[in-house]
């Protein structure tokens, strides 16, 4: 037994005892490599769309069409989710603040929680799900059925017409949807609160925003411009470069949701730090 092991080790040093480690390492390296090449490709694509966005024609009609699809059609989803998120948040906040006898702080605490982080992030993730999948599938489908080539053959810049318009629509829609999320969240919390303690609606909202300054409200809302850009470019990039028929379209759609959500969460950490640095009072 012992001897066999010894000879095995002696002969097949690479294939037996040491085998798992290099392969794991290799796997890790190739994952890292494909991750890096994805980020590299995405960055180049993003740069290209930015450069393209200032070129004529501006495709105003198409941007409005995409705004309707991306922004307006997402509104019901955001509204409903906002109500639910606000309701749940208020229940948690109440149970926490009651312990300190600080129920009167509930609207203020809620408004801060919603506006500073929950509203922007939940909006970003919901839009990444709905819109990311849609853009990935729409552009992927157009790619594999040669419709993107057809656009090019008709002397239309397909990158501008398809990707830039959608990215601009995402960038415009996200802050607006975030404002909607914040308000419906506050409304949801008011509804949950009013079932426990009757407060007039206007009083509730006034208390909520009484101690909130401009610099508390605006930076977290404007950071969703970046979320919109991430969702738009990631899903456009994956759809625009889809290959491999219907299966490839499905892959582009799924990856659009997954990768734009992950990127959004990671970039959010940086943005939160940045806002805290630039607006020390509000961010601290």
């Amino acid at each position: 037994m012992l001897q066999r092991q010894f000879t095995l080790r002696g002969c097949d040093l690479n294939q037996t005892s040491l085998d798992p480690q290099p392969s794991l390492l290799q796997e890790g390296l190739s994952t890292a490599e494909s991750g890096l090449s994805f980020l590299g490709g995405l960055s180049l694509f993003a740069l290209e769309t930015v450069r393209e966005s200032v070129r004529r024609p501006f495709e105003g009609g198409e941007i409005i069409r995409q705004l309707a699809e991306i922004g307006w059609r997402s509104a019901p989803l955001i509204l409903l989710s906002g109500l639910a998120v606000g309701g749940v948040l208020s229940m948690h906040t109440r149970s926490t603040l009651e312990r300190f006898g600080a129920e009167s702080m509930i609207p203020t605490a809620l408004a801060f929680a919603l506006v500073m982080e929950t509203g922007p992030l939940v909006t970003g993730l919901l839009v990444a799900g709905r819109v990311g999948a849609g853009i990935g599938a729409a552009l992927g489908g157009m790619r594999v059925t040669e419709q993107i080539d057809a656009l090019e053959s008709l002397a239309v810049n397909s990158l501008h017409y398809l990707a830039v318009t959608r990215i601009i629509a995402c960038v415009i829609a996200l802050p607006l949807l975030t404002v909607l999320m914040n308000f419906s969240g506050l409304l949801g919390s008011y509804l949950a609160e009013s079932s426990i303690a009757a407060t007039p609606f206007t009083h509730y909202f006034e208390t909520a925003f009484s101690s909130m300054a401009f610099s508390d409200y605006v930076p977290p809302t404007l950071k969703t411009l970046v979320f919109g850009f991430i969702i738009g470019t990631t899903s456009s990039y994956l759809g625009y470069n889809a290959t491999g028929g219907a299966e490839g379209v499905g892959r582009a759609s799924t990856q659009s949701v997954v990768l734009s959500s992950v990127l959004l969460i990671v970039v959010n950490v940086i943005l939160v730090r940045l806002i805290a640095f630039l607006f020390p009072v509000g961010g601290a």
């Binding site: 489908g141 157009m142 059925t145 040669e146 419709q147 080539d149 057809a150 656009l151 090019e152 053959s153 008709l154 002397a155 239309v156 810049n157």
Partner: protein, 249 residues
Amino acid sequence: MTTEAGALQFASVSKAFGSRAVLKNVSFSVATGTAFVLLGRSGTGKSVTLKLLCGLLKADSGVIRVNGEDITKFDSNQLSSIRMHMGFLFQSAALFDSLSVGENVAFPLRRHSKKSDEEIRHQATSLLERVGLGKEYDSMPANLSGGMQKRAGLARALAVEPSILLVDEPSAGLDPITSNEIDQLLVDIKTDQHTTLVVVTHNMQSARRLADQMAFLDQGELLAQGTVEELERSEEPLVRDFMSSQQAG
């Protein structure tokens, strides 16, 4: 630079996808106002050749001239301006599935002309009538048969009155009568508007009817090239088989 060669010129063009060499040193030229028919077995690179001709694919080496200008060095703006004068019928038709059939045909007009909505609709309708789809303006592409989609694609390619028209298997999926009508339409366009045609087809009957010049592509090279009569006298067994086997249809 010898530009009088014609509207289109391929000079020693090679194209590979990964390790698969599709075109190897292919050269041909098409004189203005004539029809060039590209023959060859399935998967030999005919569609790739058409896409190279309008810059949808990039050649690995060689020169591709459109109206005397080498398009292999063009950027996307320059390609756009040359495509204003080119029409392309895709093998898959490639209609925009979010637009109605009529709006597909109207699309290039809406983008590149300053005509009123009414004029554009009128023009799109008459283009659809020319390919026998006059009643289908408001249908969605997904609800058309393959042959109908193909004809709608042709109407869209004709919308800008291109001086160069590239068509990939115009009669695939069409019955003999409709196929004849489409051939006649292409001949009319060539004679009336002096349009340069490049046609990929498997249908020998329409190839004979359309072609001023023919070329036979096999394994990445042009096996034979010349007039119909010249190809019929070809020494290459494959070309002779191809020319005679489908004589009837």
